[in-house]
């Protein structure tokens, strides 16, 4: 049974904008999914339906078999954690510790459990030195880690990250990528909403490509990000390695290359062939 089931969902905002026009999909326990598309395609609207922040205007969303219409957001949040794009929209506590404990208290954890989980989260996100620091004193990257820690602390089955790579430098993105991959390997269902194609190319997850409120394509990153007509249709820029191999496709190279190492190997083999 799928962990998250979206059944022909339509969603219209109060102002009249129809953001989702008949979306259906299933996400299984333990999957790693990237939801991609141009700004305004409906990505964030879709994932907000996963934790009940938005309820479908038409259609249904089932989380763990229960319709999101029948449960409060607080209850759904226990299963579906959502890390918002801007950590400053969440941070309000006096210390990092308090910030992480906030959700745990809301969910009714016992004091001893809270203490254990806060320690675990702080260690996981490398925030031990800042445990008693005010989150407002931290740098942008550190605040992002606090926000992430505060969501992981209650150990939700699903973790949704909305545009986690914005404003991050290369190193930070690398660390984040490794962290997310690790989370997924440990069994968490991870959903990343992003327009960062290079980031997705390095993780090679399942990609759901959206355009104007509909799902344009659903498959492996390798297949979707290298499909030039799809990329054009969805107004996304293919990863650089993919662009290079599209330009070399007339030489007989496979067209679905997105990984740098794979690219290197293909080229090295071809060059060796030529030399011999």
């Amino acid at each position: 049974m799928a962990l998250i089931e979206v059944k022909d969902v339509f969603f219209t905002y109060q102002a009249g904008v129809e953001a989702l026009k008949g979306v259906s999909l299933q996400i299984r326990d333990g999957e790693f999914v990237a939801i991609m598309g141009q700004n305004g395609a409906g990505k964030t609207t879709l994932v907000k339906n996963f934790n009940g922040l938005l309820k479908p205007t038409k259609g249904e969303v089932l989380v763990d078999g229960v319709s999101t219409r029948d449960v409060s957001v607080a209850k759904l949040a226990r299963t579906v954690g959502f890390v918002f794009q801007n950590p400053d929209h969440q941070l309000f506590s006096e210390t990092v510790e308090e910030e992480i404990a906030f959700a745990l208290r809301n969910f009714g954890f016992e004091a001893s459990a809270i203490e254990k989980r806060v320690t675990w989260a702080v260690n996981l996100l490398d925030l031990v030195d800042y445990r008693k620091t005010s989150p407002f004193m931290l740098s942008g990257g550190e605040r992002k880690r606090v926000a992430l820690a505060s969501v992981l602390a209650w150990d939700p089955k699903v973790v949704i990250l909305d545009e986690p790579t914005i404003g991050q430098d290369y190193r930070q993105k690398e660390n984040l990528r490794q962290f997310i991959v690790q989370l997924n390997e440990q069994g968490k269902t991870v959903v990343v909403v992003t327009h960062d194609v290079e980031f997705v190319a390095e993780c090679n997850p399942r990609v759901i490509l959206m355009k104007e409120g509909k799902i344009l394509a659903d498959g492996k990153a390798k297949q979707i990000l290298t499909n030039t007509s799809l990329a054009l249709d969805a107004s996304i820029v293919p990863p650089q390695i993919s662009q290079i191999f599209q330009g070399l496709s007339f030489l007989g190279f496979p067209s679905d290359v997105i990984d740098v190492s794979e690219a290197k190997n293909l080229l090295v083999d071809r060059l060796r062939e030529l030399r011999s």
């Binding site: 109060q14 102002a15 907000k48 934790n51 922040l53 409060s72 957001v73 607080a74 949040a77 226990r78 954690g81 959502f82 918002f84 801007n86 400053d88 929209h89 969440q90 941070l91 309000f92 906030f102 959700a103 809301n106 969910f107 407002f136 505060s150 969501v151 209650w154």
Partner: protein, 265 residues
């Protein structure tokens, strides 16, 4: 947040919308002054119906009715208050005159609300800020007003995002007793305030970078020109004022009771 819908920029063009806000304001003040002059029912009734053609021409009937509905509660309160106290302290010769007075006060309040409502319903924020720029109001205040209006939809959206972010951490805004509910708004207010402060800093940087305060004599891209319609409206306002004063001091106003059958009390 539907209350903020009214702040959305709407390009409406009508003979009323296109009037210079300064002249419109003069008209509203004239209406206001004349309303204050009278405590009798009939002239106030006339004043109440006076802006109706403007409302109709500007096409803002629905919003106008909504604003009146909002004021109705307070207006009823004024009516009851005047009637009850007048009755208890026997400050009026007869009950029917007291009734008329209370009704007049009820109407007067509505006229005041109505006149300002018509002003704001037929003047878009940017038109208003332009008018402000061209008065003697120091630019800092006009700028503060314009920027505030410009950011209302942004702040509203941000407040919604913050609420979503905290709800997604298990915060329940609808549960609990009054005290708990108030405390639950702290996780909403603090990020909102911090964000507003950050935003102000960024705005200040941008302003400085675009030569804010270089010349005390700031120029303007647009200029509001007084057109024929504005002159007509100004004339109307003056006529209203003159007629109002004349009627108040020189024309005897019949009591409402002369038109109605004698009341049981």
């Amino acid at each position: 947040m539907s209350v903020f819908e009214g702040f959305r920029f709407r390009h409406v063009s009508s003979p009323i919308h296109n009037r210079d806000p300064r002249i419109k304001f003069v008209f509203v003040i004239a209406l206001f002054v004349v309303a204050i002059l009278f405590t009798e029912f009939i002239p106030l009734l006339v004043l109440f119906f006076l802006p109706l053609p403007f409302v109709w021409v500007a096409g803002v009937r629905r919003q106008w009715l909504r604003s009146l509905r909002g004021a109705l509660f307070l207006a009823m309160f004024i009516f009851v208050f005047n009637f009850v106290f007048g009755y208890l302290y026997k400050s009026y010769p007869s009950t029917s005159s007291l009734l008329e007075y209370s009704l007049a006060m009820f109407l007067r309040f509505l006229v005041l609300v109505e006149s300002f409502s018509v002003f704001f319903l037929t003047t878009s924020p940017d038109h208003l800020s332009l008018a402000l720029e061209q008065t003697r109001v120091p630019y800092e205040f006009t700028f503060a007003f314009t920027t505030a209006v410009r950011f209302v939809p942004v702040l509203a959206e941000e407040a919604q995002t913050i609420m979503d972010a905290q709800k997604a951490r298990g915060l329940e805004l609808e549960r609990g007793n009054f005290l708990k509910r108030v405390r639950n708004y702290i996780p909403i207010l603090i990020p909102l305030i911090v964000s507003a402060i950050r935003r102000s800093l960024e705005l200040a940087e941008a302003m400085e970078s675009r030569a804010w305060g270089v010349t005390p004599k700031r120029t303007n891209l647009y200029v509001l020109k007084i057109k024929l319609g504005d002159v007509v409206l100004l004339a109307l306002s003056i006529v209203l004022l003159v007629v109002g004063i004349y009627v108040r001091y020189f024309v005897p106003i019949p009591q409402l009771s002369t038109f109605l059958p004698p009341l049981p009390f």
